[in-house]
Protein backbone atom coordinates (compact mmCIF):
# COMPACT_ATOMS: atom_id res chain seq x y z
CA UNK A 1 0.00 0.00 0.00
CA UNK A 2 1.37 3.34 -0.96
CA UNK A 3 0.13 6.83 -0.27
CA UNK A 4 0.88 7.88 -3.85
CA UNK A 5 -2.49 6.42 -4.81
CA UNK A 6 -4.53 9.08 -3.03
CA UNK A 7 -2.50 11.96 -4.50
CA UNK A 8 -4.47 12.21 -7.79
CA UNK A 9 -7.43 13.26 -5.63
CA UNK A 10 -5.56 15.27 -3.01
CA UNK A 11 -3.32 17.37 -5.26
CA UNK A 12 -6.10 19.00 -7.32
CA UNK A 13 -8.15 19.44 -4.13
CA UNK A 14 -5.34 21.32 -2.39
CA UNK A 15 -4.58 23.32 -5.53
CA UNK A 16 -8.25 24.28 -5.88
CA UNK A 17 -8.48 25.23 -2.20
CA UNK A 18 -5.35 27.40 -2.51
CA UNK A 19 -6.73 29.05 -5.63
CA UNK A 20 -10.05 29.78 -3.93
CA UNK A 21 -8.40 31.21 -0.82
CA UNK A 22 -6.04 33.36 -2.87
CA UNK A 23 -8.52 34.40 -5.52
CA UNK A 24 -7.03 37.89 -5.49
CA UNK A 25 -3.65 36.53 -6.61
CA UNK A 26 -2.60 37.70 -10.05
CA UNK A 27 -3.81 35.57 -12.95
CA UNK A 28 -0.17 34.68 -13.67
CA UNK A 29 0.30 33.07 -10.26
CA UNK A 30 -3.02 31.24 -10.55
CA UNK A 31 -1.88 29.83 -13.89
CA UNK A 32 1.44 28.71 -12.45
CA UNK A 33 -0.28 26.81 -9.63
CA UNK A 34 -2.84 25.27 -11.91
CA UNK A 35 -0.27 24.15 -14.49
CA UNK A 36 2.02 22.86 -11.73
CA UNK A 37 -0.76 20.77 -10.19
CA UNK A 38 -1.81 19.39 -13.57
CA UNK A 39 1.79 18.50 -14.48
CA UNK A 40 2.13 16.66 -11.18
CA UNK A 41 -0.98 14.71 -12.13
CA UNK A 42 0.63 13.72 -15.43
CA UNK A 43 3.67 12.42 -13.52
CA UNK A 44 1.36 10.52 -11.18
CA UNK A 45 -0.48 9.11 -14.19
CA UNK A 46 2.79 7.77 -15.60
CA UNK A 47 3.58 6.27 -12.21
CA UNK A 48 0.11 4.71 -12.05
CA UNK A 49 0.44 3.10 -15.46
CA UNK A 50 3.80 1.55 -14.57
CA UNK A 51 2.61 0.47 -11.12
CA UNK A 52 -0.61 -1.07 -12.42
CA UNK A 53 1.29 -3.36 -14.80
CA UNK A 54 2.13 -5.70 -11.95
CA UNK A 55 -1.05 -6.15 -9.96
CA UNK A 56 -4.00 -4.44 -8.32
CA UNK A 57 -3.16 -1.78 -5.77
CA UNK A 58 -5.60 -1.00 -2.99
CA UNK A 59 -5.64 1.94 -0.58
CA UNK A 60 -7.80 1.87 2.52
CA UNK A 61 -8.69 5.38 3.60
CA UNK A 62 -7.97 5.87 7.29
CA UNK A 63 -6.87 2.21 7.33
CA UNK A 64 -10.51 1.12 7.71
CA UNK A 65 -10.67 -2.43 6.48
CA UNK A 66 -12.88 -3.17 3.48
CA UNK A 67 -15.80 -3.62 3.16
CA UNK A 68 -16.41 -1.20 6.04
CA UNK A 69 -14.16 1.65 4.98
CA UNK A 70 -13.81 3.38 1.65
CA UNK A 71 -11.29 1.75 -0.62
CA UNK A 72 -9.42 3.08 -3.63
CA UNK A 73 -8.43 0.51 -6.25
CA UNK A 74 -5.83 1.07 -8.92
CA UNK A 75 -5.92 -1.38 -11.79
CA UNK A 76 -4.82 -1.15 -15.41
CA UNK A 77 -8.02 0.53 -16.58
CA UNK A 78 -8.06 3.21 -13.89
CA UNK A 79 -4.34 3.89 -14.35
CA UNK A 80 -4.80 4.36 -18.08
CA UNK A 81 -7.77 6.68 -17.55
CA UNK A 82 -5.84 8.71 -14.96
CA UNK A 83 -3.00 9.28 -17.39
CA UNK A 84 -5.36 10.17 -20.23
CA UNK A 85 -7.33 12.64 -18.10
CA UNK A 86 -4.16 14.27 -16.77
CA UNK A 87 -2.59 14.65 -20.21
CA UNK A 88 -5.75 16.07 -21.70
CA UNK A 89 -6.16 18.45 -18.76
CA UNK A 90 -2.58 19.68 -19.14
CA UNK A 91 -3.22 20.71 -22.74
CA UNK A 92 -6.56 22.28 -21.83
CA UNK A 93 -5.08 24.32 -19.01
CA UNK A 94 -2.16 25.44 -21.21
CA UNK A 95 -4.59 26.51 -23.90
CA UNK A 96 -6.85 28.25 -21.39
CA UNK A 97 -3.87 30.11 -19.94
CA UNK A 98 -3.53 31.99 -23.21
CA UNK A 99 -6.56 34.10 -22.36
CA UNK A 100 -9.83 32.24 -22.07
CA UNK A 101 -9.37 31.86 -18.30
CA UNK A 102 -9.82 35.65 -18.01
CA UNK A 103 -13.40 35.61 -19.28
CA UNK A 104 -14.72 34.95 -15.77
CA UNK A 105 -13.41 34.39 -12.29
CA UNK A 106 -12.17 31.20 -10.59
CA UNK A 107 -11.46 29.31 -13.81
CA UNK A 108 -8.44 27.47 -12.43
CA UNK A 109 -10.05 26.57 -9.10
CA UNK A 110 -13.06 25.08 -10.91
CA UNK A 111 -10.75 23.28 -13.32
CA UNK A 112 -8.87 21.64 -10.44
CA UNK A 113 -12.12 20.62 -8.72
CA UNK A 114 -13.23 19.04 -11.96
CA UNK A 115 -9.97 17.06 -12.13
CA UNK A 116 -10.42 15.98 -8.53
CA UNK A 117 -13.85 14.56 -9.33
CA UNK A 118 -12.67 12.84 -12.50
CA UNK A 119 -9.64 11.24 -10.82
CA UNK A 120 -11.69 10.16 -7.83
CA UNK A 121 -14.29 8.52 -10.06
CA UNK A 122 -11.51 6.54 -11.75
CA UNK A 123 -9.93 5.38 -8.50
CA UNK A 124 -12.78 4.59 -6.16
CA UNK A 125 -13.85 1.05 -5.34
CA UNK A 126 -17.10 2.03 -3.66
CA UNK A 127 -20.37 2.82 -5.42
CA UNK A 128 -21.50 5.58 -3.07
CA UNK A 129 -18.09 7.17 -3.34
CA UNK A 130 -18.48 7.02 -7.10
CA UNK A 131 -21.72 8.99 -6.69
CA UNK A 132 -19.96 11.61 -4.57
CA UNK A 133 -17.10 12.02 -7.05
CA UNK A 134 -19.63 12.25 -9.89
CA UNK A 135 -21.33 15.10 -8.04
CA UNK A 136 -17.99 16.87 -7.52
CA UNK A 137 -17.10 16.66 -11.18
CA UNK A 138 -20.62 17.65 -12.23
CA UNK A 139 -20.83 20.67 -9.96
CA UNK A 140 -17.47 21.87 -11.25
CA UNK A 141 -18.55 21.19 -14.83
CA UNK A 142 -21.78 23.21 -14.40
CA UNK A 143 -19.75 26.22 -13.39
CA UNK A 144 -17.10 25.64 -16.07
CA UNK A 145 -19.77 25.33 -18.77
CA UNK A 146 -21.23 28.68 -17.70
CA UNK A 147 -17.77 30.24 -17.39
CA UNK A 148 -17.64 33.48 -19.31
CA UNK A 149 -21.41 33.88 -19.33
CA UNK A 150 -23.69 34.64 -22.24
CA UNK A 151 -27.11 33.65 -23.45
CA UNK A 152 -26.12 30.48 -25.29
CA UNK A 153 -24.32 29.17 -22.21
CA UNK A 154 -27.23 29.89 -19.86
CA UNK A 155 -29.64 28.13 -22.18
CA UNK A 156 -27.42 25.07 -22.66
CA UNK A 157 -26.44 25.07 -18.99
CA UNK A 158 -30.05 24.85 -17.83
CA UNK A 159 -30.65 21.66 -19.82
CA UNK A 160 -27.33 20.19 -18.74
CA UNK A 161 -27.87 20.87 -15.05
CA UNK A 162 -31.47 19.64 -14.96
CA UNK A 163 -30.82 16.36 -16.74
CA UNK A 164 -27.81 15.66 -14.55
CA UNK A 165 -29.77 16.40 -11.36
CA UNK A 166 -32.34 13.89 -12.54
CA UNK A 167 -29.48 11.45 -13.17
CA UNK A 168 -28.21 11.94 -9.61
CA UNK A 169 -31.67 11.15 -8.23
CA UNK A 170 -31.80 7.93 -10.27
CA UNK A 171 -28.26 7.04 -9.15
CA UNK A 172 -29.33 7.31 -5.50
CA UNK A 173 -32.42 5.19 -6.19
CA UNK A 174 -30.26 2.45 -7.68
CA UNK A 175 -27.84 2.65 -4.75
CA UNK A 176 -30.76 2.40 -2.33
CA UNK A 177 -32.05 -0.75 -4.01
CA UNK A 178 -28.60 -2.33 -4.03
CA UNK A 179 -27.95 -1.46 -0.40
CA UNK A 180 -31.38 -2.67 0.68
CA UNK A 181 -30.81 -6.05 -0.96
CA UNK A 182 -27.15 -6.67 -0.14
CA UNK A 183 -26.23 -4.43 2.80
CA UNK A 184 -23.04 -3.16 1.18
CA UNK A 185 -21.88 -0.66 -1.43
CA UNK A 186 -18.26 -1.78 -1.79
CA UNK A 187 -17.96 -2.91 -5.41
CA UNK A 188 -16.06 -6.12 -4.68
CA UNK A 189 -18.35 -7.07 -1.81
CA UNK A 190 -21.41 -6.24 -3.90
CA UNK A 191 -20.13 -8.50 -6.68
CA UNK A 192 -19.84 -11.47 -4.32
CA UNK A 193 -23.26 -10.86 -2.80
CA UNK A 194 -25.02 -10.31 -6.11
CA UNK A 195 -23.53 -13.53 -7.43
CA UNK A 196 -24.88 -15.34 -4.37
CA UNK A 197 -28.19 -13.45 -4.27
CA UNK A 198 -31.56 -15.03 -3.67
CA UNK A 199 -33.29 -15.83 -7.01
CA UNK A 200 -36.33 -13.82 -5.81
CA UNK A 201 -34.19 -10.70 -5.75
CA UNK A 202 -33.01 -11.10 -9.34
CA UNK A 203 -35.66 -8.80 -10.79
CA UNK A 204 -34.93 -6.00 -8.36
CA UNK A 205 -31.19 -6.38 -8.92
CA UNK A 206 -31.75 -6.23 -12.65
CA UNK A 207 -33.81 -3.08 -12.11
CA UNK A 208 -30.95 -1.52 -10.16
CA UNK A 209 -28.48 -2.48 -12.88
CA UNK A 210 -30.65 -0.91 -15.58
CA UNK A 211 -31.16 2.25 -13.49
CA UNK A 212 -27.39 2.55 -13.14
CA UNK A 213 -27.09 2.19 -16.90
CA UNK A 214 -29.54 5.06 -17.38
CA UNK A 215 -27.40 7.22 -15.09
CA UNK A 216 -24.14 6.31 -16.83
CA UNK A 217 -25.95 6.59 -20.17
CA UNK A 218 -26.75 10.24 -19.43
CA UNK A 219 -23.05 10.89 -18.79
CA UNK A 220 -21.84 8.78 -21.71
CA UNK A 221 -24.51 10.15 -24.09
CA UNK A 222 -26.44 7.12 -25.25
CA UNK A 223 -29.33 7.65 -27.60
CA UNK A 224 -32.47 8.81 -25.83
CA UNK A 225 -30.38 10.67 -23.26
CA UNK A 226 -27.96 12.66 -25.37
CA UNK A 227 -29.86 15.69 -26.62
CA UNK A 228 -28.29 17.99 -24.05
CA UNK A 229 -24.81 17.29 -25.38
CA UNK A 230 -24.45 19.11 -28.74
CA UNK A 231 -25.76 22.40 -27.37
CA UNK A 232 -23.79 22.22 -24.12
CA UNK A 233 -20.48 21.25 -25.70
CA UNK A 234 -20.72 23.79 -28.49
CA UNK A 235 -21.64 26.59 -26.06
CA UNK A 236 -18.69 25.99 -23.69
CA UNK A 237 -15.41 27.82 -24.19
CA UNK A 238 -12.82 25.86 -26.21
CA UNK A 239 -10.58 24.51 -23.41
CA UNK A 240 -13.61 23.57 -21.31
CA UNK A 241 -15.24 21.72 -24.20
CA UNK A 242 -11.93 19.94 -24.83
CA UNK A 243 -11.81 18.82 -21.21
CA UNK A 244 -15.45 17.71 -21.46
CA UNK A 245 -14.31 15.24 -24.13
CA UNK A 246 -13.22 13.04 -21.21
CA UNK A 247 -16.57 13.39 -19.40
CA UNK A 248 -18.49 11.03 -21.66
CA UNK A 249 -15.60 8.61 -21.17
CA UNK A 250 -16.11 8.81 -17.40
CA UNK A 251 -19.64 7.52 -18.02
CA UNK A 252 -18.26 4.76 -20.22
CA UNK A 253 -15.65 3.89 -17.60
CA UNK A 254 -18.32 3.60 -14.89
CA UNK A 255 -20.40 1.41 -17.19
CA UNK A 256 -17.48 -0.95 -17.82
CA UNK A 257 -16.49 -1.07 -14.18
CA UNK A 258 -19.97 -1.70 -12.80
CA UNK A 259 -21.16 -4.15 -15.46
CA UNK A 260 -18.02 -6.25 -15.54
CA UNK A 261 -17.09 -6.27 -11.86
CA UNK A 262 -20.28 -5.73 -9.88
CA UNK A 263 -22.76 -7.52 -12.11
CA UNK A 264 -20.37 -9.91 -13.84
CA UNK A 265 -19.09 -12.23 -11.14
CA UNK A 266 -21.79 -14.90 -11.42
CA UNK A 267 -20.40 -16.85 -14.35
CA UNK A 268 -23.48 -19.04 -14.83
CA UNK A 269 -26.11 -16.30 -15.13
CA UNK A 270 -24.43 -12.92 -15.10
CA UNK A 271 -26.86 -10.04 -14.76
CA UNK A 272 -24.90 -7.95 -17.22
CA UNK A 273 -26.11 -10.12 -20.12
CA UNK A 274 -29.57 -8.54 -19.75
CA UNK A 275 -28.09 -5.07 -19.81
CA UNK A 276 -25.99 -5.81 -22.90
CA UNK A 277 -29.20 -6.78 -24.66
CA UNK A 278 -30.41 -3.17 -24.27
CA UNK A 279 -27.05 -1.53 -24.75
CA UNK A 280 -26.27 -3.09 -28.14
CA UNK A 281 -29.12 -1.65 -30.28
CA UNK A 282 -29.15 1.70 -28.46
CA UNK A 283 -25.41 2.13 -28.92
CA UNK A 284 -25.61 1.29 -32.62
CA UNK A 285 -28.35 3.88 -33.16
CA UNK A 286 -26.28 6.41 -31.18
CA UNK A 287 -23.38 5.73 -33.53
CA UNK A 288 -25.60 6.33 -36.56
CA UNK A 289 -27.10 9.48 -35.09
CA UNK A 290 -23.61 10.82 -34.38
CA UNK A 291 -22.69 10.35 -38.04
CA UNK A 292 -25.86 12.10 -39.25
CA UNK A 293 -25.23 14.92 -36.78
CA UNK A 294 -21.68 15.40 -38.09
CA UNK A 295 -23.03 15.68 -41.60
CA UNK A 296 -25.72 18.16 -40.58
CA UNK A 297 -23.72 20.33 -38.18
CA UNK A 298 -23.65 24.06 -38.86
CA UNK A 299 -20.38 24.84 -37.08
CA UNK A 300 -17.16 23.01 -36.30
CA UNK A 301 -17.90 23.00 -32.57
CA UNK A 302 -21.25 21.28 -33.11
CA UNK A 303 -19.52 18.86 -35.45
CA UNK A 304 -16.98 18.06 -32.73
CA UNK A 305 -19.83 17.51 -30.26
CA UNK A 306 -21.37 14.96 -32.62
CA UNK A 307 -17.93 13.33 -32.97
CA UNK A 308 -18.04 12.82 -29.21
CA UNK A 309 -21.48 11.18 -29.59
CA UNK A 310 -20.26 8.99 -32.44
CA UNK A 311 -17.23 7.83 -30.49
CA UNK A 312 -19.30 7.01 -27.42
CA UNK A 313 -21.74 5.08 -29.60
CA UNK A 314 -18.90 3.04 -31.06
CA UNK A 315 -17.37 2.45 -27.63
CA UNK A 316 -20.63 1.24 -26.11
CA UNK A 317 -21.55 -0.91 -29.12
CA UNK A 318 -18.20 -2.68 -29.00
CA UNK A 319 -18.47 -3.04 -25.23
CA UNK A 320 -21.95 -4.59 -25.63
CA UNK A 321 -20.36 -7.37 -27.71
CA UNK A 322 -19.07 -8.62 -24.34
CA UNK A 323 -15.77 -10.02 -25.54
CA UNK A 324 -12.37 -9.27 -24.03
CA UNK A 325 -10.59 -8.86 -27.37
CA UNK A 326 -13.18 -6.37 -28.64
CA UNK A 327 -13.01 -4.45 -25.37
CA UNK A 328 -9.22 -4.20 -25.72
CA UNK A 329 -9.60 -2.61 -29.15
CA UNK A 330 -12.32 -0.26 -27.97
CA UNK A 331 -10.09 0.96 -25.12
CA UNK A 332 -7.47 1.85 -27.73
CA UNK A 333 -10.19 3.69 -29.65
CA UNK A 334 -11.12 5.50 -26.42
CA UNK A 335 -7.60 6.99 -26.14
CA UNK A 336 -7.61 8.05 -29.76
CA UNK A 337 -11.12 9.50 -29.87
CA UNK A 338 -10.76 11.48 -26.63
CA UNK A 339 -7.57 13.18 -27.87
CA UNK A 340 -9.01 13.89 -31.29
CA UNK A 341 -12.35 15.25 -30.05
CA UNK A 342 -10.42 17.63 -27.80
CA UNK A 343 -8.24 18.61 -30.76
CA UNK A 344 -11.31 19.52 -32.78
CA UNK A 345 -12.77 21.74 -30.05
CA UNK A 346 -9.43 23.56 -29.78
CA UNK A 347 -8.99 23.75 -33.57
CA UNK A 348 -12.44 25.30 -33.95
CA UNK A 349 -11.35 28.09 -31.63
CA UNK A 350 -7.90 28.42 -33.20
CA UNK A 351 -9.23 28.68 -36.75
CA UNK A 352 -12.21 30.80 -35.71
CA UNK A 353 -9.87 33.43 -34.30
CA UNK A 354 -7.98 33.71 -37.59
CA UNK A 355 -11.03 34.13 -39.79
CA UNK A 356 -12.20 37.58 -40.81
CA UNK A 357 -15.79 36.77 -39.88
CA UNK A 358 -18.09 33.89 -38.96
CA UNK A 359 -15.89 32.33 -36.24
CA UNK A 360 -16.44 28.57 -36.76
CA UNK A 361 -19.61 28.65 -38.89
CA UNK A 362 -19.37 26.34 -41.88
CA UNK A 363 -21.76 28.43 -44.01
CA UNK A 364 -19.50 31.49 -43.95
CA UNK A 365 -16.62 31.70 -46.41
CA UNK A 366 -14.18 34.19 -44.99
CA UNK A 367 -10.52 34.87 -45.69
CA UNK A 368 -8.19 33.67 -42.98
CA UNK A 369 -4.53 34.13 -42.10
CA UNK A 370 -1.96 31.33 -41.88
CA UNK A 371 -4.12 29.06 -43.94
CA UNK A 372 -1.31 26.66 -44.84
CA UNK A 373 -0.41 25.94 -41.25
CA UNK A 374 -4.00 25.73 -40.00
CA UNK A 375 -5.05 23.75 -43.05
CA UNK A 376 -2.34 21.18 -42.45
CA UNK A 377 -3.32 20.79 -38.81
CA UNK A 378 -6.95 20.42 -39.81
CA UNK A 379 -6.09 17.87 -42.51
CA UNK A 380 -4.07 15.69 -40.15
CA UNK A 381 -6.73 15.83 -37.43
CA UNK A 382 -9.54 15.16 -39.90
CA UNK A 383 -7.76 12.19 -41.49
CA UNK A 384 -7.06 10.71 -38.09
CA UNK A 385 -10.62 11.24 -36.81
CA UNK A 386 -12.19 9.76 -39.93
CA UNK A 387 -9.99 6.69 -39.61
CA UNK A 388 -7.72 7.08 -42.63
CA UNK A 389 -4.26 5.49 -42.59
CA UNK A 390 -1.59 6.03 -41.30
CA UNK A 391 -3.01 7.72 -38.19
CA UNK A 392 -4.22 6.28 -34.89
CA UNK A 393 -7.86 6.38 -36.00
CA UNK A 394 -7.13 3.86 -38.72
CA UNK A 395 -5.23 1.49 -36.44
CA UNK A 396 -7.82 1.59 -33.66
CA UNK A 397 -10.79 1.13 -35.97
CA UNK A 398 -9.10 -1.62 -37.98
CA UNK A 399 -8.19 -3.48 -34.80
CA UNK A 400 -11.71 -3.06 -33.47
CA UNK A 401 -13.40 -4.30 -36.63
CA UNK A 402 -10.96 -7.19 -36.96
CA UNK A 403 -11.56 -8.37 -33.39
CA UNK A 404 -15.32 -8.02 -33.74
CA UNK A 405 -15.51 -10.62 -36.51
CA UNK A 406 -15.87 -13.49 -34.05
CA UNK A 407 -19.16 -12.03 -32.78
CA UNK A 408 -22.29 -13.37 -34.54
CA UNK A 409 -23.82 -9.92 -35.11
CA UNK A 410 -20.59 -8.21 -36.20
CA UNK A 411 -21.95 -7.10 -39.59
CA UNK A 412 -24.13 -4.47 -37.90
CA UNK A 413 -21.09 -2.92 -36.28
CA UNK A 414 -19.04 -3.11 -39.47
CA UNK A 415 -21.76 -1.58 -41.62
CA UNK A 416 -22.67 1.30 -39.35
CA UNK A 417 -19.06 2.13 -38.41
CA UNK A 418 -17.87 2.20 -42.00
CA UNK A 419 -20.83 4.26 -43.24
CA UNK A 420 -20.30 6.62 -40.30
CA UNK A 421 -16.65 6.96 -41.35
CA UNK A 422 -17.74 7.84 -44.87
CA UNK A 423 -20.16 10.48 -43.54
CA UNK A 424 -17.38 11.92 -41.44
CA UNK A 425 -14.99 12.12 -44.42
CA UNK A 426 -17.68 13.88 -46.47
CA UNK A 427 -18.49 16.39 -43.74
CA UNK A 428 -14.86 17.13 -42.88
CA UNK A 429 -13.74 17.53 -46.49
CA UNK A 430 -16.65 19.89 -47.15
CA UNK A 431 -15.68 21.92 -44.08
CA UNK A 432 -11.99 21.95 -44.99
CA UNK A 433 -12.43 22.90 -48.63
CA UNK A 434 -14.90 25.65 -47.74
CA UNK A 435 -12.53 27.10 -45.19
CA UNK A 436 -9.10 26.75 -46.73
CA UNK A 437 -9.56 26.61 -50.51
CA UNK A 438 -12.56 28.75 -51.32
CA UNK A 439 -11.77 32.09 -49.68
CA UNK A 440 -9.68 34.84 -51.24
CA UNK A 441 -6.27 35.46 -49.65
CA UNK A 442 -6.44 37.54 -46.52
CA UNK A 443 -6.22 41.23 -47.36
CA UNK A 444 -7.65 42.79 -44.23
CA UNK A 445 -5.82 45.83 -42.95
CA UNK A 446 -5.65 44.56 -39.38
CA UNK A 447 -3.35 41.59 -39.23
CA UNK A 448 -4.79 38.92 -36.94
CA UNK A 449 -1.80 37.48 -35.15
CA UNK A 450 -1.66 33.73 -34.74
CA UNK A 451 -0.83 32.81 -31.17
CA UNK A 452 2.19 30.45 -31.39
CA UNK A 453 1.54 28.94 -27.94
CA UNK A 454 -1.99 27.92 -28.85
CA UNK A 455 -0.80 26.40 -32.13
CA UNK A 456 1.95 24.53 -30.30
CA UNK A 457 -0.55 23.13 -27.76
CA UNK A 458 -2.85 21.83 -30.47
CA UNK A 459 0.03 20.47 -32.55
CA UNK A 460 1.48 18.53 -29.63
CA UNK A 461 -1.93 17.07 -28.87
CA UNK A 462 -2.24 15.97 -32.51
CA UNK A 463 1.31 14.64 -32.19
CA UNK A 464 0.24 12.47 -29.27
CA UNK A 465 -2.42 10.84 -31.37
CA UNK A 466 0.19 10.27 -34.08
CA UNK A 467 2.46 8.76 -31.43
CA UNK A 468 -0.36 6.35 -30.58
CA UNK A 469 -0.06 5.08 -34.13
CA UNK A 470 3.75 4.95 -34.08
CA UNK A 471 3.97 3.09 -30.78
CA UNK A 472 0.82 1.07 -31.29
CA UNK A 473 2.33 -2.29 -30.31
CA UNK A 474 3.08 -1.58 -26.62
CA UNK A 475 -0.23 0.27 -26.26
CA UNK A 476 -2.10 -2.65 -27.80
CA UNK A 477 -0.36 -5.10 -25.44
CA UNK A 478 -1.36 -2.92 -22.50
CA UNK A 479 -4.98 -2.76 -23.70
CA UNK A 480 -5.18 -6.52 -24.20
CA UNK A 481 -3.93 -7.11 -20.68
CA UNK A 482 -6.38 -4.48 -19.37
CA UNK A 483 -9.36 -6.14 -21.01
CA UNK A 484 -8.20 -9.53 -19.77
CA UNK A 485 -7.98 -8.13 -16.25
CA UNK A 486 -11.48 -6.64 -16.49
CA UNK A 487 -12.94 -9.97 -17.54
CA UNK A 488 -11.60 -11.61 -14.37
CA UNK A 489 -13.76 -10.03 -11.68
CA UNK A 490 -12.80 -12.71 -9.15
CA UNK A 491 -9.21 -11.42 -9.15
CA UNK A 492 -10.53 -7.92 -8.39
CA UNK A 493 -12.61 -9.25 -5.51
CA UNK A 494 -9.66 -11.15 -4.07
CA UNK A 495 -7.41 -8.11 -4.33
CA UNK A 496 -9.88 -5.94 -2.42
CA UNK A 497 -11.39 -8.31 0.12
CA UNK A 498 -8.62 -10.88 0.56
CA UNK A 499 -8.29 -14.48 -0.50
CA UNK A 500 -11.03 -15.96 1.66
CA UNK A 501 -13.79 -13.59 0.54
CA UNK A 502 -14.85 -15.64 -2.46
CA UNK A 503 -15.35 -18.76 -0.38
CA UNK A 504 -17.21 -17.04 2.46
CA UNK A 505 -19.63 -15.18 0.21
CA UNK A 506 -18.63 -11.65 1.23
CA UNK A 507 -18.13 -10.20 4.67
CA UNK A 508 -20.09 -11.29 7.72
CA UNK A 509 -22.75 -8.71 8.47
Amino acid sequence: MTHLMILPVVIPMLAAAWLLLNHRASIGRQRVWSILSTSLLVALGVWAVTAAQADYHTYWLGNWQPPFGIVLVLDRLSAMMLLLAALLALFCVLYASRGSDREGSHFHALFQFQLMGINGAFLTGDLFNLFVFFEILLLASYALLLHGGGRARSRAGLHYVIINLLGSALFLLALGILYGLTGTLNMADLAVRIAAANPDDQTLLKGAALLLMVVFGIKAAILPLLFWLPRAYSAASAPVAALFAIMTKVGFYAMVRVLLIVFGLDSAQPLNADVFLWLWPLALVTLGLGAIGILGAASLRTMAAYMVILSSGLLMASFAMAEATVLAASLFYLLHSTCLAAVFFLLADLIGRQRAEGYDLLSVTAPLTNRWLLGTLFLVAAASMAGLPPFSGFISKAWLLQNAVSHPKYLWLWGITLVAGLFMIAALSRAGSGWFWKPEPYTGRQRRRLDPARVATVSVLIGISAALALFAAPVMDYMSATAGQLYQPSAYVEAVLGESAMANGGHNP
Binding site: L158, L165, L175
Partner: protein, 112 residues
Protein backbone atom coordinates in the same frame (compact mmCIF):
# COMPACT_ATOMS: atom_id res chain seq x y z
CA UNK B 1 -45.53 2.21 8.86
CA UNK B 2 -44.36 0.51 5.64
CA UNK B 3 -47.62 1.49 3.94
CA UNK B 4 -47.36 5.09 5.07
CA UNK B 5 -43.76 5.42 3.88
CA UNK B 6 -44.54 3.83 0.52
CA UNK B 7 -47.60 6.05 -0.05
CA UNK B 8 -45.55 9.12 0.87
CA UNK B 9 -42.78 8.03 -1.51
CA UNK B 10 -45.31 7.44 -4.27
CA UNK B 11 -46.97 10.84 -3.86
CA UNK B 12 -43.64 12.69 -3.69
CA UNK B 13 -42.30 10.92 -6.78
CA UNK B 14 -45.49 11.43 -8.78
CA UNK B 15 -45.63 15.13 -8.00
CA UNK B 16 -41.90 15.46 -8.66
CA UNK B 17 -42.06 13.78 -12.06
CA UNK B 18 -45.17 15.75 -13.04
CA UNK B 19 -43.52 19.05 -12.14
CA UNK B 20 -40.22 18.17 -13.87
CA UNK B 21 -42.12 17.66 -17.11
CA UNK B 22 -43.57 21.21 -16.99
CA UNK B 23 -42.21 23.89 -19.28
CA UNK B 24 -41.37 26.63 -16.73
CA UNK B 25 -38.10 26.56 -14.83
CA UNK B 26 -39.77 27.33 -11.49
CA UNK B 27 -41.93 24.21 -11.56
CA UNK B 28 -39.00 22.13 -12.78
CA UNK B 29 -36.91 23.27 -9.80
CA UNK B 30 -39.80 22.43 -7.45
CA UNK B 31 -40.12 19.04 -9.11
CA UNK B 32 -36.41 18.31 -8.67
CA UNK B 33 -36.70 19.23 -4.99
CA UNK B 34 -39.66 16.91 -4.46
CA UNK B 35 -37.92 14.10 -6.31
CA UNK B 36 -34.79 14.49 -4.22
CA UNK B 37 -36.95 14.37 -1.07
CA UNK B 38 -38.47 11.12 -2.30
CA UNK B 39 -35.04 9.70 -3.05
CA UNK B 40 -33.68 10.68 0.37
CA UNK B 41 -36.64 9.09 2.11
CA UNK B 42 -36.22 5.95 0.02
CA UNK B 43 -32.49 5.74 0.76
CA UNK B 44 -33.18 6.20 4.46
CA UNK B 45 -35.81 3.46 4.55
CA UNK B 46 -33.37 1.01 2.92
CA UNK B 47 -31.80 0.46 6.38
CA UNK B 48 -35.13 -1.17 7.30
CA UNK B 49 -37.85 0.65 9.23
CA UNK B 50 -37.50 0.36 13.00
CA UNK B 51 -38.58 2.60 15.85
CA UNK B 52 -36.75 3.22 19.08
CA UNK B 53 -33.64 1.30 18.00
CA UNK B 54 -30.29 3.05 18.57
CA UNK B 55 -27.75 3.07 15.77
CA UNK B 56 -25.17 1.37 18.02
CA UNK B 57 -24.64 -2.38 18.07
CA UNK B 58 -24.99 -4.09 21.43
CA UNK B 59 -27.21 -1.68 23.41
CA UNK B 60 -30.48 -3.37 22.44
CA UNK B 61 -31.16 -6.72 20.75
CA UNK B 62 -31.99 -5.08 17.42
CA UNK B 63 -30.12 -1.98 16.36
CA UNK B 64 -30.79 0.39 13.50
CA UNK B 65 -28.43 0.41 10.52
CA UNK B 66 -26.32 3.59 10.76
CA UNK B 67 -24.96 3.48 7.22
CA UNK B 68 -28.12 4.65 5.34
CA UNK B 69 -28.33 7.52 7.82
CA UNK B 70 -24.81 8.55 6.88
CA UNK B 71 -25.56 8.08 3.19
CA UNK B 72 -28.71 10.15 3.37
CA UNK B 73 -26.89 12.97 5.15
CA UNK B 74 -24.40 13.12 2.30
CA UNK B 75 -27.20 12.96 -0.24
CA UNK B 76 -29.11 15.78 1.49
CA UNK B 77 -26.05 18.03 1.53
CA UNK B 78 -25.36 17.38 -2.14
CA UNK B 79 -28.97 17.83 -3.25
CA UNK B 80 -29.22 21.02 -1.19
CA UNK B 81 -26.17 22.48 -2.91
CA UNK B 82 -27.42 21.41 -6.33
CA UNK B 83 -30.86 22.93 -5.71
CA UNK B 84 -29.28 26.21 -4.66
CA UNK B 85 -27.21 26.16 -7.83
CA UNK B 86 -30.14 25.40 -10.12
CA UNK B 87 -32.25 28.16 -8.51
CA UNK B 88 -29.53 30.71 -9.20
CA UNK B 89 -28.99 29.37 -12.68
CA UNK B 90 -32.68 29.54 -13.59
CA UNK B 91 -32.88 33.12 -12.26
CA UNK B 92 -29.85 34.03 -14.36
CA UNK B 93 -31.36 32.33 -17.39
CA UNK B 94 -34.73 34.04 -16.85
CA UNK B 95 -33.05 37.44 -16.74
CA UNK B 96 -30.68 36.87 -19.65
CA UNK B 97 -33.12 35.11 -21.97
CA UNK B 98 -36.12 37.22 -20.90
CA UNK B 99 -38.17 34.04 -20.55
CA UNK B 100 -38.61 31.42 -17.85
CA UNK B 101 -39.27 28.66 -20.38
CA UNK B 102 -36.83 25.76 -20.02
CA UNK B 103 -35.76 26.18 -23.65
CA UNK B 104 -35.20 29.89 -23.19
CA UNK B 105 -38.05 30.73 -25.52
CA UNK B 106 -41.65 29.63 -25.75
CA UNK B 107 -42.25 27.83 -29.05
CA UNK B 108 -46.02 28.38 -28.81
CA UNK B 109 -45.86 32.06 -27.97
CA UNK B 110 -47.32 33.28 -31.26
CA UNK B 111 -50.03 30.68 -31.55
CA UNK B 112 -53.58 31.54 -30.54
Amino acid sequence: MELMISVALGILTTCGVFLILRARTFSVVLGLTLLSHAVNLFLFSMGRLTTGAPAIVGLTPDSADPLPQALVLTAIVISFAMTAFVVVLSLKAAVELRSDHVDGENPNEDRP
